[in-house]
């Protein structure tokens, strides 16, 4: 195998630098603005020196590197550039592995026929990709992914580093042991033993290493020796499954079409269950003969028949393999289509398919005792907090942030007239001034002083009805003390 590694270190930072060259001299942290709740997506080497790490809370990063420029992540732009990197690689070979942002591997074993020497291949590739991306890509070419990645790291921006077959071990020997995927304990012990480089590690007998550190040490040991057999996991087009039915006699009524859609959905569901997939989307395609009167028109009226086709797609959320769900969705899609005439072909397509286990992780969130009826609310709360902490530890801050995307409706600004003590007397609601009939409760919230202070005076009050006949309405309004503005609270309080 002959692998090329295309590497743009700190791709998001590079994109931002390219957009605004004044950022080059300042530490840059990407992921959110100062005081945002999110996590750091990427940061420049200057920020890394200050202790900032990707995945860290923005507030922590702010504390570590207050002088940094904090930028919200433009993931679309980063992904676009990354996709260009992939597309560039695909021009040479279909076997492309998509790793993290700014890191792509491609199997170029077949390129020897096109280029005399690998360095030529590299140069050409650089020319094309760099011109395309307008960025300095570092390229490494070697017989395996690990060596190619290390070669890319060693290469200068816009240049290639080629490691010939047989020279892997020598190339790697001077690299620090931390470049290997080692668990921290193994790395610590290797340091104690004075093994600081890949070369020193590779000199140890393999069996002794396995015995000393366990069988999992075999992979890093082989990598240190330059042996890397792991194949490229090439990106494949998304899986899709199609079932079609052609009618000998075009069908003009919806009922038989519906029956066919149901049957096809059932068949498809059975098939994906058998294969262990779930569908993320459903597509219904219909082909038929155009008729002026639509589906009720009959053939044989002497008109020249024109063909039509129409399609409708819907996402399946959450992904499913349930026959019932797919049938119901299919029926709804059929109902939503305006069909131009008798139908002679019906196709139902499930796309893209994903394995059951993809995107899912099994965690023991609660032990059974914590959920027992005897467990107090405090215990439950503690367990929940602990679980969230573990989720954060394992999947990073973003796993929790996703949950927080479901937000309550924002408060609505309103106009309020108050008395001299600041107590509301009337409010403007639905473009009408409503008198406050009574105040049922008054409370104050002074929270989050360490981040963005919230200073609100709440009133639960009753306002007069739309007319004299209609009863009064209970509302919760609050006065934002800092901004000196009034809002209608729309959350349920």
């Amino acid at each position: 195998m002959w692998v090329v590694c295309l590497f743009i270190p700190h791709l998001p930072v590079r994109v931002e630098w390219q957009r605004d060259p004044t950022l080059v001299n300042a530490p840059v942290i990407i992921g959110g603005r100062r005081w945002d709740q999110g996590a750091v997506l990427d940061c420049c080497p200057q920020a890394i020196t200050a202790g900032v790490e990707p995945g860290m809370r923005i507030s922590q990063a702010e504390a570590l590197c207050p002088a940094a420029r904090f930028l919200p992540a433009d993931e679309e732009a980063y992904n676009a550039l990354h996709r260009r990197l992939i597309e560039g690689a695909r021009r040479f070979t279909p076997t492309v592995e998509n790793d993290e942002l700014g890191l792509v591997y491609a199997d170029i074993s077949g390129l020897k026929r096109r280029f005399d020497h690998n360095a030529d291949a590299a140069r050409r590739m650089i020319k094309e990709i760099v011109n395309d991306a307008a960025l300095d890509v570092q390229i490494g070419i070697a017989s395996g992914k690990f060596v190619a990645h290390q070669a890319a790291r060693a290469a200068k921006p816009g240049e290639a580093c080629v490691v010939s077959i047989g020279e892997e071990k020598a190339f790697l020997s001077s690299l620090d042991i931390s470049t290997l995927p080692l668990d921290p304990e193994m790395e610590r012990r290797l340091h104690l033993l004075g093994v600081r480089t890949l070369g020193a590690f590779a000199k140890l007998p393999r069996l002794a290493v396995l015995r000393q550190f366990g069988s999992s040490a075999g992979i890093p040991y082989d990598l240190a020796c330059g042996t890397d057999d792991q194949p490229l996991q090439a990106d494949a087009p998304p899986l899709r499954l199609t079932q079609s039915h052609s009618f000998v006699d075009p069908v003009s009524h919806r009922r038989p079409l519906l029956a066919h859609v149901n049957r096809m959905a059932n068949d498809l569901a059975k098939e994906i269950v058998r294969r262990g997939y779930q569908a993320e989307g459903l597509l219904l395609e219909i082909e038929g003969i155009q008729s002026d009167k639509g589906i009720v028109a009959r053939q044989g009226t002497g008109h020249v028949a024109e063909h039509f086709s129409c399609a409708v797609g819907k996402p399946v959320k959450p992904p499913s393999s349930s026959a019932d769900r797919l049938s119901r969705l299919g029926a709804r899609m059929l109902g939503s289509l305006t069909i131009g005439g008798p139908v002679n072909k019906l196709s139902l397509i499930l796309y893209p398919l994903q394995s059951f286990h993809l995107g899912a992780a099994q965690l023991t969130l609660f032990d059974s005792t914590a959920l027992s009826p005897l467990a107090s609310r405090a215990t439950f709360g503690h367990t929940l907090r602990e679980t969230l902490r573990r989720l954060r530890d394992r999947f990073g801050e973003l796993s929790i942030l996703i949950a927080s995307l479901v937000v309550a409706p924002a408060p609505r600004p309103i106009l309020v007239t108050t008395d001299c003590r600041g107590i509301p007397r009337s409010i403007v609601w639905h473009e009408r001034i409503r008198e406050v009939q009574s105040i049922h409760e008054h409370w104050r919230e002074r929270r989050l002083w360490w981040r963005r202070p919230i200073k609100r005076d709440y009133f639960r009050l009753e306002i007069e009805g739309r007319s004299r006949q209609t009863p009064g309405q209970m509302k919760v309004v609050f006065h934002d003390v800092q901004a000196d503005r009034w809002y209608m609270e729309r959350r349920h309080i």
Partner: protein, 1057 residues
């Protein structure tokens, strides 16, 4: 209903609004209050609140301070506590506010708090309702805050249950002593809860009372309160939403504000006054004099009658008379003894002396070295009872410095006990008098700069590493001045510090200064009581097993007139005992240190040469600089030498005049001829505390008791008014004795500068005994002395590696740690010192002990054998290997490290399993000498064979530094370049910014003086372990130092390879 018509209710009808606050937390609610008891009292007085109840959570920690402050502020102090009641099955614990109505109530509250704390972890209290019912007498109860049982039930809409609970409390306390507590803090749901509470009160027939549940004085202190809550719950602000109050309304409100808040329920406010009137003021029932002590030992024939008071006095007299003739065969000071005994009898302290005598004698009989220190050594009675080793007659000490009727506070006898055996003595006291009658005084561990920065940074969400970096960068101790810390300003640039989290941190940290964080145990203060102690002051278990502490610290105990006995641990006593035992083991003769003549010239010669490392009290850098000039030649000289380096003599600028007069470069003179008698022994300058008393007596005609009061006033920072009145008295007295006012004024100013921050002569003399004994051991038995010294590290001024280097310089062979021969602590082995396993970092005492125990069955045969027999894990064995403890096996350290994995696995299996061979193993080479030194230092902090400066010796040679051994041969003012390891850094506040370093090279120590400018320029270098100093040699008599002009950091290159 509450009966009676209080007078102030009539006043109220004239139009004014009155309100008494019955629910307030101070900083002594430990991490749940931000205002000191004093601040609360003062603020209440400002707001014209006539009475204030301090209701700290499950505690009376601040009761004495609060009572005193409230009395001074002119408000009525009421004591109480917010008790935590144990929740019934599945329910959370609930709060209940208890207020002391009578003296019986106070005793019951103390007992209830003690019961709530019993068998709980530190900081936790849970009171059983059964206990509450059994000790409810004399207490008034309020239903509590939102965490109270009744409010919580009502919030959860369990009205009938709440009704039953309220009726239950009414039965326990009586309907007139249980009130429904109403609070309004603008919290959502307040109105609904208040309506339910008032309805419930009506249904049960209870009165309502309004309270403020005060946690801080000003809304802005809410932030500090939030931070404290997070520290308490070990969480960060971001995660603490439910733990924090929703707003900043928990302040102490004025009566007007409360009247506005409770305008719909005015009776709730009126009832606060009724309750306040019923509660007795705290000073009526708090202890205000010496507690009834348990009976001391009264056995023996001493001809006493039946009265126990007389019995104790007779026994004391009998013991003293018996010892008087033994101690003074010629001219016994009978008059002095009679005077002391009469004062002791007059103050009812005979039993107290007997108790202390009993403790000292039990310890001495058990072979535990102990001796009295401090002012007790002024007493002849203490000397005769063997409590103090100092003869007050020979040393011309003043009894009134220890005890006088005028002083009005109880005496304080401090006993130093060999540190390693102190616990035996403490447990003896517990057993002798019972755990109900004995407890140790507590201390409040308050926030200082570093602890505050660590905690606040964590709470604000700083990453742990950054919080630690921040804390370590601080070069100040006072949290209030955190913004001025130069170390922090240098470690973090201005832009970083301008960030919001840093600004929050810098704003909050100073506000935490002095707030108690948690409870600790006082060094040794034990309180004894004849009556159960838990009725005088609440008790709680300490973290240390078998210890119980009072809820009052030493200041509160002293203010309440409660006498304590300080049983202090002193490592030097353990060191001396160990050294004597080692000498006995070597020579079969036990040196009798008590009978040493204290005038051995060899010992003084050694001290005069500045060879003082390890010698008690004179090893510090300042003392080591002073001693070659001072040239002590007698025990009295040692007493003065010890007393010179104290803030008092230094601030009053008495050290240099004394040295000049001693060296004969200045004539001895006295401010007034009347002072010749008082100051003759110290050549006309004031050095001892007793001299303050003598000066006041001789120059201004003070009585001994008055003079002692003056000294105490001078030693208090905030006693300006008291000092002013003493000054008048002093000047008047001097005038009456014919002393010129100007002279009297100058002398008083000198006394004021002296301040009292000095040793009493008695104390210095007691310490000088140990100084001489340790110096004698060092001079004649260095091997035993240094071995004993290393056994009790950390101790003294220098780190252990300096002690090891000094031992080597004294010709002692030091051997490294060895698993085959090392004991847990340092031992003597064939006229050499063997380092103990305890010096190995990460091994721990248990680990070291298991090695010693395993070895008792024979030497270790292999690493597998070692692992199997010691049952130690990788974390303990790795540092042992690196420390060179297996070097005698002749196997490279890394080889052993490689084989450790297999050895640990093999040790898990049965013994008959074949020992894995090293076939197929990689071969590791021996470490280079430098690598060996490096790893030894990294894992033990010292090296047995080489000095740590060997790590930079090449650089030192290359830069042509002068070794410390060659400095005595160089002339004053010569430019020199010295280098080595910094072993101490000091910047005393009295030195006006000048810093003093002790630099050590292979030959010895070098004193470096760093002026402020150089200090500022070299801040970074000063944090480096190794430095080169360029400067000027200074000679003062035989004392040598280098005045630094430039300090350069030396980096240690590389790592073991």
């Amino acid at each position: 209903m509450v009966h009676g018509t209080p007078a102030y209710l009539n006043r109220r009808s004239s139009g004014g609004t009155e309100y008494a606050e019955l629910h307030a937390h101070s900083t002594h609610s430990l991490l749940d209050g931000t205002s000191s008891p004093e601040a609360l009292a003062v603020r209440a007085a400002d707001l014209k609140i006539p009475a204030l109840a301090l209701t700290d959570r499950d505690a009376l920690y601040g009761a004495v301070r609060f009572t005193k402050a409230a009395q001074e502020a002119g408000i009525k102090p009421i004591l109480g506590s917010e008790m935590t009641l144990r929740g019934s099955q599945g329910e959370e614990d609930a709060h209940l506010t208890l207020l002391v109505e009578t003296a019986e109530g106070y005793a019951n509250l103390c007992r209830l708090i003690t019961l709530a704390r019993r068998h709980q972890d530190k900081g936790i209290a849970r009171l059983d309702k059964r206990d509450l019912a059994a000790h409810a007498g004399g207490l008034i109860a309020l239903s509590g805050c939102r965490q109270g049982e009744i409010p919580r039930l009502l919030t959860n809409k369990k009205r009938e249950h709440a009704l039953g609970v309220a009726q239950g409390y009414a039965r326990v306390f009586g309907p007139h002593r249980f009130f429904i507590e109403l609070q309004r803090h603008y919290v959502r749901g307040d109105s609904r809860l208040l309506a339910r509470l008032t309805t419930l009160a009506d249904r049960v027939g209870l009165d309502v009372v309004a309270t403020g549940n005060v946690h801080y004085l000003h809304p802005r202190q809410r932030q500090v309160h939030d931070v404290l809550r997070c520290i308490h719950h070990q969480t960060i602000l971001e995660d603490a939403e439910k733990l924090l109050c929703p707003n900043n309304e928990y302040t102490l409100r004025s009566p007007g504000e409360m009247a506005h808040l409770f305008s719909d329920i005015p009776i709730a406010l009126e009832n606060t006054l009724r309750v306040a009137e019923r509660c007795a003021p705290a000073y009526d029932y708090l202890p205000a004099g010496m507690q009834t002590l348990p009976q001391g030992p009264l056995d023996g024939d001493y001809g006493a009658n039946d009265d126990r008071f007389d019995q104790a006095h007779h026994k004391l007299r009998w013991l003293c008379e018996r010892a008087l003739h033994r101690r003074y065969p010629v001219n016994p000071p009978q008059t002095l003894l009679d005077r002391e005994l009469s004062v002791i009898q007059g103050m009812g302290l005979a039993n107290y002396f007997l108790i202390v005598w009993d403790i000292v004698h039990v310890a001495q009989r058990a072979g535990i070295r102990c001796q009295g220190r401090g002012s007790a050594a002024n007493s002849l009675v203490a000397y005769l009872l063997d409590i103090s080793p100092i003869d007050p007659v020979a040393c011309d000490l003043v009894f009134e410095r220890f005890l006088s009727p005028e002083r009005g506070s109880p005496p304080d006898i401090d006993i130093d006990i060999a540190a390693d055996r102190r616990e035996e003595v403490i447990q003896y006291v517990y057993e002798r008098y019972g755990r109900e009658h004995a407890a140790m005084a507590c201390t409040f561990v308050t926030f200082r700069a570093r602890s505050a920065v660590r905690d606040v940074a964590r709470v604000l969400g700083f990453p742990p590493a950054l919080a630690e970096r921040l804390a370590k960068s601080l070069d100040i101790h006072d949290a209030r001045s955190v913004r001025e810390s130069r170390g922090m300003l240098e470690a973090f640039d201005a832009q970083q510090l301008a960030g919001k989290p840093f600004q929050n941190l810098l704003r909050l940290v100073p506000q935490l200064d002095g707030i108690p964080r948690h409870l600790g145990i006082h060094n040794g203060g034990m309180v004894l009581s004849g009556a159960p102690l838990c009725e005088v002051v609440p008790l709680e278990p300490a973290t240390m097993e078998g210890r119980v502490v009072t809820q009052w610290d030493k200041d509160s105990l002293e203010s309440a007139g409660i006498v304590k006995i300080d049983l202090l641990g002193l490592r030097m006593l353990s060191t001396i005992e160990d050294a004597v035992t080692i000498v006995e083991g070597q020579t079969e003769q036990r040196p009798d240190l008590a009978s040493l003549s204290q005038d051995d010239p060899e010992v003084y010669d050694m001290l005069c040469r500045g060879r003082t490392i390890g010698v008690f009290q004179v090893e510090s850098r300042a003392q080591a600089t002073l001693i070659p000039r001072f040239q002590p030649r007698s025990f009295d000289d040692l007493v003065i030498q010890i007393s010179l380096i104290r803030p008092g003599p230094l601030q009053a600028q008495m050290v240099r005049p004394y040295l000049r007069r001693r060296e004969g470069r200045e004539l001895v003179s006295y401010p007034h001829p009347r002072l010749e008698d008082a100051l003759q022994e110290t050549l006309g300058v004031i050095i001892f505390q007793e001299q303050v008393l003598k000066v006041a007596r001789d120059l201004a005609g003070f009585t001994p008791g008055e003079a002692e009061l003056l000294r105490r006033a001078l030693s208090h920072k905030r006693a300006g008014r008291k000092i002013a009145s003493f000054r008048e008295r002093f000047l008047d007295g001097a005038r009456e004795l014919g002393v010129e006012t100007e002279t009297a004024r100058q002398v008083f100013e000198q006394l004021q500068a002296f301040g009292g921050y000095s040793f009493p002569k008695s104390h210095a003399a007691a310490f000088a005994v140990l100084t001489y004994q340790s110096a004698w051991l060092r001079r004649y038995h260095p091997l035993a002395f240094f071995a004993a010294l290393l056994r009790h590290q950390p101790m003294g001024f220098y780190p252990a590696h300096v002690v090891v280097s000094e031992a080597r310089r004294c010709g002692v062979e030091v051997r490294p740690v060895d698993v085959e021969t090392s004991d847990l602590r340092a031992t003597v082995e064939d006229q050499a010192l063997r380092l103990g396993l305890a010096v190995v970092n990460g091994l721990g005492e248990t680990g070291g002990q298991s090695v010693v125990e395993a070895r008792s069955f024979g030497p270790f045969r292999s690493l597998v054998d070692f692992c199997r027999r010691t049952k130690l894990g990788r974390k303990a064995i790795e540092p042992l290997i690196w420390a060179g403890a297996f070097d005698t096996w002749g196997v490279p350290r890394r080889q052993l490290l490689w084989e450790l994995k297999m050895a640990l696995e093999a040790a898990q299996g049965p013994p008959e399993l074949p020992i894995p061979t090293s076939e197929g193993h990689p071969r590791f080479a021996f470490l280079s000498p430098r690598g060996r030194l490096w790893t030894e230092v990294a894992h033990t902090g010292m090296s047995a064979r080489e000095h740590l400066t060997s790590l930079v010796s090449e650089k030192l040679r290359a830069m042509h530094v002068t070794p410390s051994g060659e400095l005595p041969g160089l002339g004053d003012g010569r430019r020199v370049q010295v280098g080595g390891m910094i072993v101490s850094r000091q910047r005393p506040p009295t030195a006006k910014g000048v810093a003093f370093l002790a630099l050590e090279d292979e030959d010895g120590l070098i004193n470096i003086v760093v002026r402020p400018k150089v200090y500022e320029e070299s801040r970074e270098a000063l944090h480096s372990p190794f430095v080169i100093v360029r400067g000027q040699l200074q000679r003062r008599s035989k004392a040598i130092s280098v005045l630094a002009q430039e300090i350069i950091a030396l980096r240690v290159d590389g790592s073991p390879s």
